[in-house]
Amino acid sequence: MDYVVLLKQVPDLAEDLEIDSAGTGLDREWMSFVASEWDEYALEEALHLRDATGGTVTCLALGVQAGDVDELLATCLARGADRVVRVGSFEQSPDSHSAAGAFAAALDGIPHDLILTGVQAIDDLDGQVGPLLATRRDLPHVSVVTHIAVAADGKTATAHQEYAGGVVGEFELDLPAVLGVQTSREAPRYAPVSRVRQLMKTATIEKADGGGGGSGSGLTIEAMAVPESGATAEMITGNPVAIADRIAAILAERGIGAGAPR
């Protein structure tokens, strides 16, 4: 079984994000990057699956100059990936359509039975990479996946898709296929720093061409802004009943509770 995991880095939200002078992008001066949380779940799942079925895990990460992609890939190896590939070369994180295009091109040269990636990322303004990639490569896919199992014959996989309220849909997919992973069976394993640093020096990081890119997202960003949010809570005053009424109304606005509009 050849498992492929698609990863990218996203801005670390521990840093307050600021808007650039043009008002349509993020100010990069203080930005630091971390692996997208859901991509880490995808890797963790892939490692478990490989350990169960045998085979290999190959990690593909977008070659973005702003972050530290080689460290991300060394971390993948430290966690147990068999092979890592840096895909394409981008000055800044590309949009999801371009990312899917680059991954799709790179997959030409990489064996893949099951492709796992994060169900979403905090910056995918133009949609999620998983279904975009699946459609480009004409592969079946399911996203928001919370459980994966591969059949003994290696021809199909079972995936659970999560809906609101804990309801789960079970699907069977013909392989090869793409899954957008929502969570992994265990928390992503810890990669000891000494091992990552060792691998940074010794490991082979392959490179793959990201193709000619795509047509881009087809979106024009008119403006970006940090939403207004009061530093402190909006205080509700009055007697307990008045407070309860107001809270019920706030919840109802969000469609929660019996007071919700029908």
Binding site: L125, G218, L219, I221, A223, V226, I256
Partner: protein
């Protein structure tokens, strides 16, 4: 190209989901501006009867086929591609649900139609949509246009009121034949959560209690409120320490990290170790008897009050 606004209908167990009504209400007002129609697309098996509850739409396209007995990303996508391609709506609205994400991004790639994700607001400007999207876990808002004036938006639940789209009516119903899908994704069954085991990281409403609850017996009040809200009870550490709730309900640094839609913090002071576990919640409402409790610095709404007064009143108000 038409000026229509199309909505993908989601339904489960024979009922239209609320998120669809939210989208329909919006589609109706947008279509009025763009001088087109609000068009609902309903896929399913034996669902024609549901069309009547989509009164906010001017037209309902029904694709009724045993193949759509249950949701399947590839089957939905295969059926939707020709519909969207042929009718060329200005805007397709899809809920940002698991199913919605699958279909919207698939459509975008198949039809080379741009997609704006995590939308919280859509307006029409000169006949073409402008979409406000929430990025970076809500820390940034981006306003985008579609380069060629048409596109798809996946909309975050709760962005628009559902009432505007929930009216019954008699929209024009148009039956369309299904396009066969290759069946490489097959729906098997639906699993429903077992009663009893609560995973607070997956709950969308958490009623969380802290030491302010005073006495274990008062937990009943909290359970009743959680029930009325369709949520679960979680807690700060002292409550788990006391054994009043299992450790699996503890939120925070040494407990679980949660990101529910609503987090009610009742009698929780808001120690940094607690905040670490819940500050990502979409809406935080705090009730605390101490006006200076740090929880109010992360809460969106706060009330200085005795939780033992507010909780029963709220439960009663919710009809619990």
């Amino acid at each position: 190209m038409s000026a229509d606004v199309m909505v993908l209908v989601e339904h489960r167990d024979g009922a239209i989901l609320d998120t669809t009504f939210e989208l329909l209400g919006k589609a109706k007002s947008l279509a009025a501006e763009s001088k087109g129609e609000a068009v609902a697309v309903l896929l399913g098996s034996g669902v024609a009867g549901l069309a009547g509850s989509l009164g906010a739409a001017a037209r309902v396209i029904v694709i009724d086929d045993p193949a759509f007995e249950a949701f399947s990303p590839s089957a939905y996508q295969a059926a939707l591609v020709p519909v969207v391609r042929d009718r060329e709506p200005t805007l397709v609205l899809v809920a940002n649900s698991g199913a919605g994400m699958d279909v919207a991004a698939g459509l975008s790639a198949a039809l080379e139609l741009p997609l704006a994700a995590y939308a919280t607001e859509v307006t029409m400007d000169g006949g073409s949509p402008r979409v406000t999207c929430q990025l970076y876990a809500g820390k940034i808002q981006a306003t985008v246009r579609f380069e060629r004036g048409r596109g798809i938006a996946t909309v975050v639940a709760g962005s628009f009121p559902a009432e505007a789209g929930a009216g019954a009516g008699s929209p024009m119903v148009e039956a369309v034949a299904a396009t066969a899908s290759d069946g490489r994704v097959r729906f098997k069954r639906l699993h429903r959560p077992e009663a009893g085991d609560v995973d607070i990281t997956r709950e969308s409403v958490l009623v969380s209690v802290g030491r302010g609850i005073g006495d274990q017996d008062n937990l009943e009040l909290i359970e009743a409120l959680a029930k009325a809200l369709g949520g679960a009870v979680s807690s700060s550490r002292p409550i788990a320490d006391a054994g009043w709730l299992p450790r699996t309900r503890q939120v925070g640094k040494s407990g679980l990290k949660v990101k529910p839609k609503v987090y009610l913090a009742l009698g929780i002071s808001g120690a940094p170790e607690h905040l670490e576990g819940m500050r990502g919640a979409e809406l935080i409402i705090a009730v605390n008897s101490d006006a200076r409790a740090p929880i109010f610095s992360v809460a969106h709404y706060g009330a200085v009050a005795d939780l033992l007064d507010v909780v029963p009143a709220l439960t009663a108000r919710l009809g619990g």
